[in-house]
């Protein structure tokens, strides 16, 4: 019995129940419906993953979705090791965040609506992950985009929230534009959209080129397709050109940020690149582009995170940075390392967000870390879980982050990819930055004295059980998830890579064992020095950070304004389009030219008619004269024309 169907359709059922009967019947206990559904799908997915462990993958079509002429697409499910990993990640994070948000969203008037959107999101993510063809992937792709639009703009009264939701959806649409064309190109060249058929026949596309007419440019076909698909990934996973929507997405409730903008949706891009590794690996150019974009984004986001004061914004930029890492890994060919980092990152990033959520909960919605400090004694559980998460992200050995980050850096360094060394250097530097800003956050929030307003101080309290239990569970995940993929070097079985080998293949680093030790040492030093520097700057008295900000004021301002990317897009794309709409189109072409002709011609005929009308003067002689002249011309025409 294909029980795997239950995985996506349980949350879908929960969504329908909540949205239809939520307002009147269920109202405040809407969370039970959603939690049960997500836990149910978690159980079934564990069983399915266990089945996949034993080797029986699934690839079946449910029904024929669209069939028009040669274009046949169906709704189908493919469960293989990659899907299994994603299933675990999505369902686990989703369940924990469902439980957490039961507490966090308590008392909100749109309570049932929130849970219905969460279930809808889970359904869409699972459909995306379990798809067996590109079109269903596209369906999931846009559906998660929709849910992020709903959830970011959940408190729609706030203009900033609804703006952020709208911005997220539109920016995603830019990415989906490229992704859609990529899917079409795949169909045009290979005749089918089903994964297995596409990946099997992509080999015979090697060497073919596609000519872009009018520009007269010849591009290698596979690179063209790979880059188009990567456009989608860039949009969805907020990589450099299209990252602007993620920081604004923090307007949504914190569980949303945790689930969507940390653990699951943003990783969809990485999942897609990993899933399409046969295509990407056949085009070295595309691989390099992915690697470089990943690295640059990681650096870019890491630098911005240094100076931000809003704790959720810092974690958001750190997510963008870590995603850069994953793309870096895929770019150099280490897909398994990328997915492994995705796997571990989901846990500790979700944990970081939820801790931030509980801090915000305690500080009555305050987010600015300058107004915090010394929360350690008031919120011990949150402090310890957040500390562990930060240690994990900083890459301190023993924690999950270390194993996945180290794997990526090692394979980048030793891998065949031409940009490997350059990308490895950036990666190490970013590791240092990550450690620094993570611990800047810990020290400014939990250590030192309280800088907030008085009544905020006595309002401080630890979050209720329903929120702290998920934190602890996630904390276990943040640590234990790394142990699955301990490399041979440290005597580990690298089970993770073995598990994913059939789908993603395995990249053997050529370096010697000593080089491997050297790379690992360097990454550890980078992490620890980051933590030390943060402690040095923020734990001692005297405002060292402010002094640094003064003399590097220009750099500080640039970073503070996020390299002015938002303003740039606004000036280059949004303003001119609306200006052309208002003045050029409504004003000129529609207003003047077309309307001019459409109203002009009848007005012209009207004026001509009133002038002609005055010829009729009422004088009989004039009529007779016209008749005589008419007769004259008629006769003249015939006689002279002969």
């Amino acid at each position: 019995m294909d029980s795997y169907l239950l995985i996506p359709f349980l949350p879908l059922a929960a969504f329908l129940i909540n949205i239809l009967f939520g307002r009147k019947l269920i109202r405040d206990n809407a969370h039970w419906v959603s939690i049960l559904a997500v836990l149910g799908s978690w159980v079934v997915s564990v069983i399915t993953v266990e089945g996949v462990l034993h080797g029986n993958t699934v690839n079946r079509d449910l029904y024929a979705w669209i069939s028009s002429g040669g274009f046949k697409v169906s709704v189908g499910f493919l469960i293989d090791p990659l899907t299994a990993v994603m299933l675990v990640v999505v369902t686990t994070c989703s369940s924990l965040i469902h439980i957490y948000s039961a507490g966090y969203m308590h008392g909100d008037k749109g309570y049932y609506r929130f849970f219905s959107y969460l279930s809808l999101f889970t359904f869409s993510m699972l459909m995306l992950v379990m798809a067996n063809n590109f079109l269903q992937l596209y369906f999931g792709w846009e559906a998660v985009g929709l849910c992020s639009y709903f959830l970011i703009g959940f408190w729609y009264e706030k203009k900033s929230a609804s703006d952020a939701g709208k911005k997220a959806f539109i920016v995603n649409r830019f990415g989906d534009f490229g992704f859609g064309i990529g899917v079409i190109m795949i169909f045009l060249t290979l005749g089918t959209l089903h994964y297995d058929a596409v990946f099997a026949s992509v080999k015979n596309l090697i060497g073919q080129t596609v000519t872009i007419h009018l520009l007269g440019v010849q591009i290698d076909l596979i690179t063209f397709i790979a880059l188009l698909l990567f456009c989608g990934a860039v949009g969805k996973s907020a990589q450099l050109p299209l990252h602007v929507w993620l920081p604004d997405a923090m307007e949504g409730p914190t569980p949303v940020s945790a689930l969507i903008h940390a653990a699951t949706m943003v990783t969809a891009g990485v999942f897609m690149v990993a899933r399409c590794n046969p295509i990407f690996s056949l085009s070295p150019v595309a691989m390099n582009v992915v690697a470089v974009v990943g690295a640059v984004t990681a650096l870019f986001a890491g630098t911005i995170a240094l100076v931000q004061n809003d704790i959720k914004r810092i974690i958001a930029y750190s997510t963008v940075s870590q995603l850069g890492y994953m793309f870096l890994a895929c770019g150099v060919g280490a897909y398994t390392a990328g997915v492994f980092h995705l796997y571990t990152h989901a846990f500790f990033k979700a944990l970081l967000f939820l801790c931030a959520g509980s801090v915000m909960h305690a500080m009555a919605g305050e987010l600015d870390l300058q107004k915090m400090g010394g929360l350690k004694k008031h919120m011990p559980v949150t402090y310890w879980t957040m500390l562990i998460a930060s240690l994990s992200i900083a890459g301190v050995p023993g924690f999950a982050g270390f194993f996945s980050k180290d794997e990526i850096l090692w394979l980048a360094y030793s891998g065949p990819s031409p940009v490997g060394k350059f990308v490895w250097a950036i990666g190490t530097f970013v590791a240092f930055l990550t450690a620094f800003y993570s611990f800047r956050l810990i020290f400014r929030v939990f250590h030192g004295k309280f800088r907030g307003s008085h009544e905020q101080e006595h309002h401080l309290h630890e979050s209720p059980k329903v929120m702290t239990v998920p934190l602890m569970l996630l904390c276990v995940g943040a640590v234990a998830s790394g142990w699955v993929g301990v490399p041979q070097l440290l005597g580990g079985g690298a089970h993770f890579t073995e598990f994913l080998k059939p789908v993603l293949g395995h990249l053997e680093g050529e370096g010697t064992r000593s080089e491997e030790w050297m790379v690992m040492a360097i990454s550890i030093i980078a992490g620890l020095s980051g933590i030390g520097l943060a402690a040095f700057v923020y734990l001692r008295e005297g405002d060292l950070a402010a002094k640094i900000a003064q003399n590097f004021s220009f750099v500080h301002r640039v970073l503070w304004n996020k390299y002015y990317v938002d303003e740039l897009y606004d000036a280059v794309i949004v303003k001119p389009t609306i200006w052309t709409a208002k003045n050029v189109i409504v004003g000129v072409t529609d207003g003047k030219i077309i309307e001019g002709v459409v109203n002009g011609v009848p007005r012209l005929i009207g004026r001509f008619s009133s002038r002609l009308r005055n010829i009729q003067t009422g004088m009989v002689q004039q009529y007779a004269a016209v008749m005589a002249i008419g007769a004259f011309f008629v006769i003249a025409a015939v006689l002279l024309w002969q």
Partner: protein, 474 residues
């Protein structure tokens, strides 16, 4: 000289006697309604005589009773009956309720019948004069109204001027061919090769001028707006259908029989005239404020469309022209009937603005006007479209596709001023309280015209076959 066979003449003779009978009865009968009824009965009697009677030539070719003339006579009788229906109440309101009105109408119809069946230019001239004189008097029937006097004066002066041209042309043709019988002229012109003789050309063109005046074609149309506006509305209705159809009958017969093989020259002249007529009619109508004057220009435009049938020539062309005039009679008189209904005690109802909000106060009347307006524009479910369609069919068949395109664009322009009336009626709020002078006879006329317009619009094959059969006898 044996007694000439006058059996084909029976309809004309009956009409003449009944006209004189109506004149005499006018002395005896006080209530003029009865006179009107008698007029209609006489029309039906003639109608019966027409169908029952014998076809053929009489008076050695001067009188020709063939399918062509019978079809036109049917149009004349229909316009006579419908005009009588709508004028019963109207001339009562205008307090000019004399019996002579009906007898003059009968005489005018007699004149038209003579014209339609004239095989000789002399008879044609006399028929034309008979019709014209009676219509001059009818135009001036409101003796007390200066506008009616002015209308009849203008119509008379310009009519006499045009008939002088006609006579000069006749004398020229008589000088050239020695005969005034149409078939003899054609035969003579063919055998003696004086086709492109300037004198022949001159006379043909003078004929174009004379008949152009009668059907109000473009350069000779100036009289029409003033006369249509000044004359009593029922007479305007009669004038815009009867004499115009007679003008076309004569135009067709003279040009297609007598000057049949001179087709290349006079068609070359008639095409620009047709286009000019359509242009003048449609464009000037747009800026009119008086509804009768607007309908005058629309009638000029419709003369332009009918000329396309004439220009296309051949049996298809003539049949389409006849079919169009038949349909035009119904929709035009229908429109005028509604205009007449608006004429009540102390309310002229001739300005277009008087129609504001008519749909709210009198939904039936405005619905009928809507039907007529859409039919005059040529929108499909109505007869107007069928008429125009057949014209364009004939034009394209004769190779004048571009002329069809021009005509089609002009009929699109005409939509503007016809819809202005519909717009005033339906889309504007009524100003004051408008009450209509509804009478049973006008009601019957409206019913007849409206059903005719809609039925022919949906089932046109009856009229088309009749027109085609009529042309066979040509």
């Amino acid at each position: 000289m044996p007694m000439p066979d006058i059996r084909p003449l029976v309809p004309e003779i009956v009409m003449a006697c009944l006209a004189m009978l109506v004149l005499i009865l006018d002395l005896v009968v006080k209530r003029k309604g009865i006179i009107a009824v008698i007029t209609m009965i006489s029309a039906f009697v003639v109608f019966y005589a027409l169908f029952g009677g014998v076809r053929g030539e009489a008076f050695s070719g001067m009188f020709v009773s063939d399918g062509y003339s019978v079809f036109f006579k049917i149009i004349f009788l229909i316009s006579l009956v419908l005009t009588t229906l709508i004028s019963v109440r109207y001339i009562e309101i205008e307090k000019v309720n004399f019996g002579e009105y009906y007898s003059l109408m009968l005489f005018s119809t007699l004149g038209m019948m003579v014209m339609a069946s004239a095989g000789d230019i002399i008879v044609l001239y006399l028929g034309l004069e008979l019709m014209a004189l009676s219509v001059y008097v009818l135009a001036g029937f409101f003796r007390h109204d200066t506008r009616s006097n002015e209308a009849s004066l203008k119509y008379f002066l310009l009519g006499a001027f045009a008939s002088a041209f006609l006579l000069y042309a006749t004398s020229m043709i008589y000088g050239l061919t020695g005969t005034t019988n149409l078939r003899a002229i054609a035969q003579y012109l063919a055998t003696h090769g004086i086709e492109d003789n300037p004198a022949t050309m001159l006379s043909v063109m003078l004929f174009v001028v004379a008949f152009g005046f009668k059907i109000a074609a473009a350069p000779f149309h100036m009289w029409a707006p003033d006369v249509y506006e000044g004359a009593p509305t029922s007479v305007t209705a009669f004038m815009s259908v009867g004499p115009k159809a007679a003008g076309f009958a004569v135009f067709g017969r003279v040009f297609l029989i007598a000057f049949g093989n001179l087709q290349i020259n006079w068609v070359g002249i008639l095409i620009p005239i047709a286009i000019l007529t359509m242009a003048v009619g449609n464009i000037i109508a747009i800026s009119q404020t008086n509804i009768k004057r607007m309908l005058a220009y629309s009638s000029i435009a419709h003369a332009g469309y009918a000329m396309i049938g004439l220009v296309s020539g051949g049996s298809e062309g003539v049949a389409s022209m006849m079919n169009y005039l038949f349909i035009y009679a119904f929709m035009n008189i229908g429109a005028f009937a509604v205009v007449i209904m608006l004429r009540t005690e102390g309310f002229k109802g001739e300005n277009i603005t008087d129609y504001e909000g008519l749909a709210k106060s009198h939904p039936l009347a405005s619905a009928l006007m809507l039907v007529f307006m859409f039919s005059l524009t040529g929108i499909p479910p109505t007869a107007g479209f069928v008429g125009k369609f057949y014209l364009f069919l004939a034009a394209v068949n004769a190779g004048y596709t571009w002329l069809a395109v021009v005509a089609v664009l002009f009929s699109a322009i005409s939509a503007y001023f016809y819809l202005r009336i519909v717009m005033f009626m339906y889309m504007k709020e009524p100003k004051g309280e408008v009450k209509l002078s509804a009478s049973s006879s006008t009601g019957i006329a409206l019913a007849v015209t409206a059903t005719a317009v809609l039925v022919i619009g949906v089932l046109p094959s009856g009229v088309i076959n009749m027109a085609r059969a009529a042309v066979l006898g040509f």
